[in-house]
């Protein structure tokens, strides 16, 4: 066996070299090998990147901190057949707002959250946009922190809900995301007020 190897070494230089030369296998050229290697690496990198990118937290529409409104005046009329709710809100925050979500509760339990949406019952003092009240038709934030546009009164027809005990208001703001304007709900600035029948 050893003698065969030696014999081959004499002829070709090495035993393995002999085998490869004898069979004359070409395989892939170096260039194609590198091109394939780079192409596979690039494709795998793209796949892994696009997958991992979804796990990276990105900026989302979020209401600016410091947004705040308060209920300056509230008048609840509960005369049967003429139930009306008038609410005056004032912007006392650092940023303009454009409207609010408004919910009322007809349950006397103060711990129960208000779930009756009365935005569709607005009579004056705003426009309906989805399930919210807006003051400027989604163009700009109307209710500014400074006068004279920092106060807005809205009136709602609340017939058919029974006696109301609580109102909850969540301000909304128009926020720019790229070139689009989107509504951001200011949950941290949510306010509530007990309703007392006049």
């Amino acid at each position: 066996m050893l003698s065969i190897v030696r014999k081959k070494n004499k002829k070709t230089g090495s035993f393995f070299g002999t085998i490869f030369r004898k069979k004359n296998r070409k395989g892939l050229s170096m260039v194609i090998g590198y091109v394939l290697l780079v192409a596979i690496s690039v494709v795998m990198s793209i796949i892994v990147y696009s997958w991992l990118k979804t796990y990276v937290p990105t900026d989302t529409i979020k209401c600016a901190e410091g947004t705040s409104i308060f209920i300056r005046d509230i008048a609840y009329t509960c005369t049967p057949g003429e139930e009306t709710l008038n609410i005056t809100v004032k912007n006392n925050g650092k940023f303009s707002v454009n409207g609010y979500f408004i919910h009322v509760s007809n349950v006397s339990n103060p711990d129960e959250i208000a779930t009756i949406d009365i935005s569709s019952k607005i009579k004056v003092g705003g426009n309906i946009s989805g399930n919210s009240i807006v003051f400027s038709n989604l163009i700009y934030n109307y209710l500014t922190p400074d006068e004279p546009t920092n106060v807005r009164t809205s009136s709602f027809d609340v017939r058919g809900y029974g006696t109301l005990y609580k109102v909850e208001i969540i301000p909304i703001r128009l926020q720019e995301e790229g070139s689009k304007k989107k509504i951001a709900s200011c949950a941290d600035a949510k306010i509530e007020e007990a309703l007392v029948c006049k």
Partner: protein
């Protein structure tokens, strides 16, 4: 003996083309098998919004309030993420059971879910009445490679209500 061995080594065997084709075919087959096996183990990634964001991160942005009184469950979506559905996790004597809100008898949960500022009020007392407490887990809807897919947010994003 040695002569025989050397002669055997000189046999040509399979041609390079056949071996290459076989090699590629085997590689593809093994890759496909491993991929199919591995895909079953790895959960399908669900994303939401544009640019796509993993729905697990979106769960952190869900903001809602829950109250329960006299058999009525009240939910208000305060945040910017739509709540597609909610799962109600009930606990009784150390046993836990989770049920989709739409599976409750006579559920009035809106088919499109609760958008920004959306509210829900429904009676679930007959099914959770004997439980000590319930946990309301938000269910979001996102997009996966197989189309629309729902995702139940983990317990830390739920709201616990004592009955």
């Amino acid at each position: 003996m040695v002569k025989k061995f050397v002669k055997k080594g000189r046999k040509r065997g399979l041609s390079p083309i056949v071996t290459t084709v076989l090699l590629i075919a085997l590689t593809i087959a093994i890759t496909a098998i491993v991929f199919l096996w591995f895909r079953g183990m790895v959960e399908d990634s669900v994303t939401k919004f544009s640019p796509p964001k993993n729905i697990k991160l979106v769960c952190e942005e869900v903001n809602f309030d829950v109250s329960y009184s006299s058999g009525t469950l009240n939910i208000v979506n305060n945040g910017d993420v739509s709540i597609f559905r909610v799962n109600i996790k009930t606990s009784q004597d150390g046993n836990y059971q989770t049920k989709d809100i739409t599976d409750f008898a006579g559920s009035t949960w809106p088919s499109t879910g609760l958008a920004q500022g959306g509210t829900f009020s429904g009676n679930i007392g007959s099914e959770v009445g004997s439980s000590g407490k319930i946990t309301v887990l938000p269910v979001l809807i996102g997009t996966s490679s197989k189309g629309k897919k729902t995702f139940v947010c983990e317990g830390q994003y739920g709201k616990e209500v004592t009955l």
